[in-house]
């Protein structure tokens, strides 16, 4: 293309081109000299377009332009110094018009205007531009101070105001000229090219918000590309889908907002989430794990409560016979006088005993009410369903937790880095929340530090092993000792039971021994555990396991005593039954005897007069309820005295005490995780065992858990101090769950045993009159279901079928177990591989430079630099080198050199040794052409 098509146009376009190319050359002045030299070479290179020199070109070509631009600009700056601010704009502006013009020019022009891809000739140039930019940015680092000091400041202030004007003017000029040019010649290929560009611009518009640019730069880019799109879209057809796009964006935003609101709502629905978070932020996740466990228990008990009350208690209350109608629902005459006494009621005798809370109150009517509700069946089903549901929930939760990872806090590669960079929630705008967040971040750091220290601890492994064996030995000894003690005491109490001349101690020996054990052993275990020096999290597990074993003794004695009682009652029952029948007969006989009228039907005996059996089920229920209630009392009182009173004393007596109470001996209490968790677990065991005989127990338990949540949350926040070593709870609560599962199993056994083997009382409860409790199922099958189902059931109950079924299950368990083991192995393997991949990546990165566009953009964002007026870049040198490389290059070089020296910005440090870039074609760079050459062309990473 002839260089002088249109002088004025050239001028304009030249400006644009230059600015565009030099946009990145903002720091060009610093290396004016080098640039100049490079320029000469670059010009030559371009003339030849030799592939071998391409690398060189890449480096050098843009530089001269920038330089020239700089010169030009310097001149121009004299005129209007306020242009600087628009620098960015101009860079961007340049692109469009330039391209357009090129498009008009024809084939070669096309190639050159290519923005990103293909086209050999253009590529060199383009890459060069990029490279140049790179370098500049690098240098910019070094020369920052200088630059900031130079021209920027003055120009900035004024520039802003006029920025718009200037830019528009320039652009207007540029584009109009190019416009006309373009209209002149528009071929198919150009159309396509234009279309492409328009699409590109559109893309830019769409993604501009993701560019990490300053707003000013974004604005100008945007304006520029919009203009471009606007102008040429008209030629190419209307822009489509903008409305649709806007609509989509809006809907997306609405959807996001909806999701957010929903998420908030869901979080708000999780009860006590904030309370627990608060505790967690001050006491660490280990303490919080107790409260989470408590909450989980509450949820489960709520469901149990729903079943029990919905299917048993409420139907009986609404549709069953009212109080006082039949003997089992009436207080016997002998007890009637004291039935309302407080002490009696507190023992759950009197009216309590004959209420809906206990087994004995329920009638054995097969169906009640209009709905024909089969209460006995429902009672049995709920009793069994309680266990079924609990088992299912516990096991499912365990499985889910195991899925979460179950890892002991080891969550991947970036524990600390993530904590550092992502733990602060930028949404927090409330001082209190912020304080909590600070606390929780500190706590979590401490937790991780403990873990880390534990990892780093180099230890005398033999000593440690010896100590651990020793500690376990001692604990087994003390567990065995206490087990024997319990056994011995139980035996003795059986002996005592047959005597009546007992002292107070002998009467209460069992209880005293038990509570003493419970008092002494846990601290003893804790002391012994110090020897082991486990990580606190693991130590907690051991502690839990050991105390659990100790408490099993408690459970065992309790159950033992209970079965004794039941057996004596069962023995009694036969004789009472006879007495009751005899009494009834006597009553009727007396009636006929006393009244002469033999035909008169005797009025029914008053229900409170009838002789009752002992009703062992209610007795058992009462035992459990009493136990639960006393447990609640003890727990709450312990907190009140042990924690609250202690805290008050320490706090206020500290003013007048001889030593520092807060730091010294009594200090504040720590939250006893193991004790509380075990308390909860054993309590739940009591509930499971007692729920069948006292349906009201579940309700009591729900109340207990509810109040406990608030009470303990308050207590822990008000009276306790965090543990000395705040440690992270294991991510899953599976250890707690495991204990719960064990207790569930242990409490399942006695209940199922009583249901399956013991005969129900003859005169109380829903199963009275039946030989076994589960007969109610048989009855239902016989009476309510079609006959063939009955036979089906009888087949299913055949041992010939059951034994193979059990065998099959055992096989299935074995199979699943081995599969899971295989998976575990694969998991480990994968983890190892990931670790290896990571190391590899590290090594790889060690060897490659990481200068890329991203880093560039970042640097661009650095304060002071992006603002820099970049005085030189605005300038449009007469559009030269590219077109007329050979001759013009020489000339330009001359000019550059002369103009460059006065440029005040030149004094930036020259980061590149000028040596290797001699005027000759690569004397210092023997490196061959090709892809490898590219890296060489760039003289290594600039010093950082």
């Amino acid at each position: 293309m002839p260089r002088k098509t249109d002088v004025s146009q050239l001028e304009d376009v030249g400006i644009d081109i230059d600015t565009e190319l030099s946009n990145s050359d903002e720091e060009a002045p610093k290396r004016a000299k080098k640039g100049g030299r490079g320029g000469g070479r670059g010009g030559r290179g371009r003339g030849k377009k030799a592939a071998s020199e391409e690398e060189e070109d890449e480096d050098e070509v843009p530089a001269p332009r920038g330089r020239r631009g700089g010169n030009r600009k310097a001149a121009r700056k004299g005129k209007d110094g306020d242009d600087e601010d628009a620098d960015d704009d101009d860079d961007e502006d340049g692109k469009g018009p330039k391209k357009r013009k090129k498009g008009g020019k024809g084939k070669e022009g096309d190639e050159e205007s290519e923005e990103e891809e293909d086209k050999k000739g253009a590529k060199g140039k383009k890459k060069g531009g990029k490279k140049g930019k790179d370098e500049e940015e690098d240098e910019e680092e070094g020369g920052k101070g200088d630059k900031g000091a130079t021209g920027k400041k003055g120009a900035k202030g004024k520039g802003k105001a006029k920025e718009d004007d200037k830019k528009k003017k320039k652009k207007g000029g540029g584009s109009s000229s190019s416009n006309s040019d373009e209209e002149d010649s528009m071929s198919e290929g150009e159309m396509a090219k234009l279309m492409e560009e328009v699409e590109e611009k559109k893309k830019l518009i769409a993604t501009i918000r993701n560019k990490p640019w300053r707003m000013r730069r974004r604005l100008t880019h945007l304006r520029e590309s919009q203009q471009f799109v606007d102008k040429f879209e008209g030629a190419l057809g209307k822009g489509k889908g903008r409305k649709w796009y806007a609509y989509k964006v809006m809907m997306k935003k609405k959807w996001i907002k909806f999701q957010r609101d929903f998420e908030n709502f869901r979080t708000a629905c999780i009860p006590w989430e904030r309370k627990i978070k608060e505790v967690e932020s001050h006491f660490g996740s280990s303490v919080a794990s107790y409260f989470i466990f408590l909450r989980w228990m509450y949820g489960m008990n709520l469901v149990l409560f729903g079943f029990t009350f919905g299917l048993v208690v409420i139907p009986e209350v609404l549709m069953g016979l009212p109080y006082g109608s039949i003997p089992r629902k009436t207080v016997p005459r002998a007890e009637a006088d004291s039935a309302q006494d407080y002490s009696v009621l507190m023992d759950f005798n009197g009216y309590c005993k004959y209420s809906v809370l206990f087994y004995g109150f329920y009638n054995n009517q097969r169906t009640i009410g209009l709905l024909q509700f089969r209460l006995p069946l429902s009672y049995l089903m709920v009793g069994i369903g309680t266990f079924g549901y609990s088992l299912m929930v516990v096991i499912r939760t365990m499985a889910k937790n195991a899925d979460v990872g179950g890892g002991d806090g080891e969550d991947g590669e970036f524990t600390f880095a993530w904590k550092m960079f992502t733990s602060w929630d930028y949404l927090i705008g409330n001082a209190e929340t912020a304080d909590n967040k600070y606390a929780s971040i500190t706590t979590s750091f401490k937790e991780s530090i403990v873990d880390e220290q534990e990892n780093q601890k180099d230890e005398n492994i033999h000593l440690r092993r010896f100590l651990r064996v020793l500690a376990n030995f001692m604990i087994i000894c003390s567990l065995g000792g206490s087990g024997y003690l319990i056994y011995f005491v139980v035996k003795r109490s059986q002996e005592f039971a047959s005597r009546d001349d007992l002292s107070w101690y002998e009467k209460n020996e069992l209880e005293i021994i038990m509570s003493l054990l419970g008092l002494v052993c846990p601290p003893l275990f804790e002391t012994i555990a110090e020897l082991e020096e486990y990580h606190p999290r693991i130590a907690l597990k051991w502690q839990l396991g050991r105390i659990f074993a100790l408490f099993l003794g408690n459970l065992y004695t309790f159950l033992f005593a209970l079965f004794d009682e039941v057996n004596t009652k069962l023995e009694l029952e036969g004789s009472i039954r006879n007495a009751s029948l005899w009494n009834m007969k006597e009553y009727y006989a007396n009636f006929t005897l006393n009244s002469n009228d033999t035909d008169a039907t005797p009025p029914p005996m008053h229900p409170s007069d009838i002789i009752r059996g002992p009703c062992w089920e209610t007795g058992v229920g009462i035992e459990f309820v009493k136990l639960t209630v006393s447990d609640i009392q003890v727990t709450y009182l312990t907190i009140l005295i042990g924690d609250f009173a202690r805290a008050v004393i320490v706090r206020f007596l500290n003013y007048c005490w001889c030593w520092d109470l807060e730091a010294g001996f009594p200090s504040y209490g720590e939250f006893d995780i193991s004790g509380n968790v075990l308390g909860l677990v054993f309590n739940q065991g009591m509930i499971w065992m007692g729920a069948f005989y006292a349906p009201g127990l579940v309700g009591i338990n729900v109340l207990r858990l509810l109040s406990s949540m608030y009470y303990q949350c308050w207590a822990v926040m008000a009276t306790n101090v965090p543990h000395e070593r705040v440690f992270k709870a294991s991510k899953s609560n599976n250890f707690y769950m495991g204990l719960l599962l064990l207790i569930l199993f242990l409490s399942l056994l006695p209940v199922v045993y009583t249901i399956m083997t013991l005969p129900p009382s003859f005169d109380c409860g829903p199963f009275s009159g039946k030989a076994k409790m589960f007969d109610v199922i048989m009855e239902t099958i016989d009476l309510d279901l079609p006959a063939f189902l009955g036979t089906l059931f009888s087949y299913a109950a055949n041992p010939g079928l059951i034994i193979p079924a059990v065998l099959l299950m055992v096989l299935a368990i074995y199979y699943l177990n081995s599969v899971s083991e295989a998976y575990q192995g694969a998991n480990m393997e994968l983890k190892k591989k990931m670790q290896m991949a990571r190391d590899e990546e590290k090594n790889r990165r060690n060897n490659t430079e990481s200068t890329d566009q991203v880093q560039k953009d970042l640097e661009d964002l650095l304060p002071n630099r992006s603002l820099a007026p970049e005085p030189e870049k605005e300038e449009p040198p007469p559009k030269p080198t590219k077109v007329k490389p050979g001759a013009a290059g020489k000339k330009d070089l001359q000019k550059d050199v002369t103009l460059a020296s006065p440029n005040p910005n030149v004094r930036g440090p020259v980061n590149r040794p000028p040596g290797p870039r001699g005027p000759g074609p690569m004397p210092g760079h023997p490196g061959g052409p090709g892809p490898g050459g590219r890296g060489q062309g760039r003289p290594g990473p600039p010093p950082r």
């Binding site: 920025e163 528009k168 584009s175 974004r218 203009q227 806007a246 935003k253 530090i449 220290q453």
Partner: protein
């Protein structure tokens, strides 16, 4: 001369927004993540928030793009930033001069980068800038120490801080130069589960 002006007003999707208080409003709007329909409101909201920081300084009318900057001390008193331990850094990062004085453009910039719908990439970059206290484009130990002390209000002992810094660098530093470049940072952050959910501000 005013060719561009004429051109822009012809854009059919701009015309309805002529009432905007700012000349540059439309591009800003697009540059933000606000969709067209609501952007006027949100931009106006931002302007309102900006103005209420210093009603006597900031004009209602932005037609002429007045060169007004609000100082850091005013900006960090915004409720959105008040409690943030990195508030100074945030403001400085988004200010063009690095001193913490924000023009309205910068202000809009800040909230568009920190808004919920901005991209992970963008957020990562700005997060990197924010945590790069000494602005050397690397997060080095010194930066990490400052970060920790801000996060924990200095509750950790110096040994603990050192331990944490060492661990963090060891974890995230891929190229072994004992400081985190942006590539390291990005790699680390891209795997963080809750970075996106925590690194945003609502206005």
């Amino acid at each position: 001369m005013h060719f561009c002006d004429g051109k822009i007003t012809q854009l059919e999707w701009v015309t309805s927004k002529q009432r905007l208080p700012m000349n540059s409003s439309k591009p800003i709007r697009t540059a933000l993540s606000f969709p067209e329909k609501r952007s006027y409101g949100e931009l106006a909201l931002l302007h309102g928030r900006y103005r209420e920081l210093a009603p006597h300084l900031v004009p209602l009318d932005y037609t002429n793009n007045p060169d007004i900057k609000l100082p850091l001390s005013l900006l960090v008193s915004m409720p959105e930033l008040k409690e943030n331990p990195f508030r100074d850094r945030i403001v400085q990062t988004f200010s063009e001069d690095g001193q913490g004085d924000l023009s309205f453009n910068d202000f809009v910039d800040m909230f568009s980068a920190l808004c919920e719908s901005s991209s992970r990439e963008l957020k990562t970059r700005y997060a990197f800038k924010i945590y790069d206290f000494n602005r050397d484009n690397f997060i080095c130990k010194e930066d990490l120490e400052k970060t920790i002390n801000k996060l924990t209000k200095g509750e950790l002992t110096p040994e603990e801080v050192t331990l944490v810094c060492d661990k963090a660098i060891e974890e995230a530093d891929l190229d072994g130069d004992s400081k985190l470049s942006f590539a390291d940072f990005e790699n680390m952050i891209s795997k963080a589960p809750d970075f996106l959910s925590t690194f945003h501000v609502r206005i």
